[in-house]
């Protein structure tokens, strides 16, 4: 009898092509998503070496990082460089015969939203993309992680990667979420607890009733942020909710084969006696709406908190890094978070650009007017169509939002959507790094409902008191 295994162990074991002498394993890769920023050099590498794609049918290509989000997007790509990258993706896909969803296709969107929507993301698979937020797909029980361009090329040519087994880190959150508390708040609270390097070398499995009670959208938000806790991948065991989401999606298995697949997927969950290298337990009751105040996602506090004093941290390096973050953010110790004025609000990204996020914002802003410039960018064309079908677009427009076309947008400011220097933004994205939303931009990470509340008041706001 084999010893009890975790979900991660099972997926890993079922993908070992061979154990290598060095202690690494050659791991088979089932699914590969590519976008315009991290793939051109990989295609060029293949071309130079005269190599071909081992299994072209395992690749899905979607442009997302550079695409304009304005209505005139087809004719107005913001820079020559962006256009060069977008054209290169299209050209490469044509040359190598890769399944490509163009910018003007209704299915286009952020790769991590499109993959699940198309049924490309399936439980028990290994899935990679040249983007760190590939961890998102772990919500389906897929071992999904971001890779560099050299690895993109490696997967294209060989359908494998040379990897070292990760440690198993279990993060268990149990109990019902309080009013105004969302998947995003849980993700931020977890990162606040373990730190941005807490998951380094590990794959996180999220267990507990809080996660099983989340929708697939919420689970994707949580797994998306696993990388901000340092873990290359996050996982949630697939269940009926997962299968309901997948069923009927264009690339998902159909009919009798779907039933066979479900049987297999049901065998993946961690065995009851499985051992984890580390375990963290959190009571959902202790989580309130979160907001980041610094330049790392671990710089996070409950919205009821105040800006910390660097002098209260241990170690010279830590003191210096907190001081640096506060200087960058233009904040003083002791300031109440709810007294911080924002200049812009961004709602969207692979973290919070799904239909449930759109609905959460609409519920907050319906019949009200926002007081700062705010962008709402659906994560995909299908999210946009669904939101419009539900009449949410009109709620946003009436409230004063700019309702945009799908893409990564202001999460990383590679297109024209940017925060200006020293401007402060409440953002539903995943990173508050220096310069992330534009040079000298200042980012506060929050949930969609909290971002909506900030847009209404012009200050960081406790959604529970709105």
């Amino acid at each position: 009898m084999t010893s009890p295994r975790t979900l991660y162990d099972k997926i890993w074991d079922s993908h070992v092509v061979e154990e290598q002498q060095s202690g690494n394993s050659l791991i088979y890769i089932d699914r590969h998503i590519i976008h315009e920023v991290t793939s051109p050099q990989a295609f060029e590498g293949l071309r130079t070496a005269g190599r071909s794609l081992r299994r072209v049918e395992t690749i899905l290509a979607v442009p997302d990082h550079n695409v304009p989000t304005t209505a005139d997007r087809e004719t107005r790509v913001d820079s020559i460089e962006s256009k060069t990258q977008l054209d290169a993706l299209e050209r490469n896909c044509k040359e190598f015969n890769v399944d490509y969803i163009p910018m003007m296709d209704a299915r286009q969107g952020i790769v991590h939203i499109v993959g699940p929507e198309q049924g490309f993301t399936l439980p028990g698979t290994t899935l990679v993309c040249g983007d760190s937020h590939t961890s998102t797909h772990g919500a389906f029980g897929a071992l999904a992680f971001g890779i560099g361009t050299s690895e993109v090329e490696h997967v294209m040519a060989t359908q494998t990667l040379i990897l070292k087994r990760s440690k198993n880190l279990r993060i268990d959150v149990s109990g019902p979420l309080g009013s105004g508390v969302t998947a995003k708040d849980v993700a931020l609270a977890v990162i606040g607890k373990i730190g941005t390097a807490g998951g380094t070398g590990s794959v996180i499995e999220f267990t507990g009733s809080t996660f099983t009670n989340l929708s697939m959208e919420g689970r994707m938000t949580v797994c998306n942020m696993a990388i901000e806790g340092g873990a290359r991948a996050g996982l949630i065991a697939p269940d009926d909710k997962t299968y309901d989401y997948i069923k009927g999606k264009p690339k998902a298995p159909k009919e009798a084969e779907f039933e066979v697949a479900v049987k297999y997927w049901n065998s993946l969950k961690s065995d009851p006696e499985a051992k984890y290298d580390n375990e963290v337990f959190i009571n959902a009751f202790d989580i309130v709406p979160q907001v980041t105040w610094g330049t790392s996602p671990e710089d996070v506090l409950p919205i009821t908190g105040i800006i910390p004093d660097p002098m209260n941290f241990k170690g010279l390096d830590k003191k210096a890094s907190i001081k640096r973050a506060l200087d960058y953010m233009g904040l003083k110790p002791g300031t109440k978070l709810t007294d911080i004025k924002v200049d812009k609000v961004f709602i969207g990204s692979c973290t919070n650009g799904r239909i449930e996020d759109m609905r959460a914002v609409a519920a907050v802003v319906k019949g009200r007017r926002i007081v700062v410039q705010a962008l709402i960018v659906p994560g995909s064309g299908l999210v946009k169509l669904q939101a419009e079908h539900e009449g949410l677009d009109q709620i946003f427009i009436d409230a004063g939002f700019e309702w945009r076309e799908p893409g990564c947008s202001m999460c990383l400011a590679m297109n024209a959507d940017k925060i200006l220097p020293q401007e402060r933004c409440a953002s539903t994205s995943n990173r508050n790094f220096e310069g992330r939303q534009g040079p000298k931009s200042r980012t506060h990470l929050v949930s969609p409902a909290m971002a909506a509340a900030a847009a209404l008041r012009g200050y960081l706001t406790d959604i529970r008191e709105l």
């Binding site: 081992r54 971001g146 560099g148 060989t158």
Partner: protein, 203 residues
């Protein structure tokens, strides 16, 4: 890929924690379809003033460190994005070795593919190396990957550890795609088996 056997250089101290990939190479410069030419943009947001002139306080702008091949940094170096533009920018700038207490996983892996050696050492040793490095042009370190040794400016030798396969590839400048392609038969055998187990993955 450039081989890495042994280098001797001054080391630039940059003891900031969580130096993320956005800091190493900001998003504006990711819009390239080449691997080269990013060195001038490395650390752009903290290296240059708004008018494009150099920020005098930034360590790699100081005369002693302009040609440093070694950078000594704080924990969790390279956290954030998977962009390989980060090691491309660092190597194009001239850096060949980053020494830090810890690295983010994706950056760590990307470095080896580009002839950039990331070395993990305990914080107390890093602290003493930073003291050496602060002596500037007079403090030359030697990093020897074949023997897994760093020689400090005063001659003291410190050992470090690297996965033997990564060491082998970097010392010999090997392309691991070529190595994996030699395993083609094994990969085909895996696919044959998986197709029976999970036929829906082969449509």
């Amino acid at each position: 890929m450039d081989k890495f056997t042994k280098i001797s250089s001054v080391a630039a101290p940059l003891p900031i924690t969580n130096i993320d990939t956005d800091m190493i190479i900001p998003q504006n410069f990711l819009r390239t379809i080449q691997r080269t030419g990013l060195g001038k943009h490395a650390f752009s947001n903290i290296r240059y003033n708004d008018d494009g002139s150099e920020q005098k306080n930034f360590i790699l702008n100081q005369p002693a460190y302009r040609r440093a091949q070694i950078l000594i940094a704080g924990e969790n170096f390279g956290c954030g994005s998977s962009r390989e533009h980060a090691p491309w920018a660092l190597t194009d700038f001239g850096l060949r070795c980053i020494i830090a207490p810890s690295f983010a996983d994706i950056f760590y892996g990307n470095s080896f593919k580009n002839g950039l050696l990331p070395i993990k050492l305990p914080q107390d040793i890093i602290d003493s190396l930073i003291k050496d490095a602060e002596r500037g042009a007079n403090a030359v370190f030697t990093v020897d990957l074949e023997n897994l040794e760093i020689t400090r400016p005063d001659g003291e030798v410190i050992g470090f550890e690297i996965d033997p396969f990564r060491q082998h590839c970097l010392v010999n400048g090997l392309d691991d795609i070529g190595l994996t392609m030699e395993r083609g038969e094994k990969i085909s055998a895996f696919e044959k088996e998986q197709k029976i187990q999970q036929p829906w993955l082969y449509k």
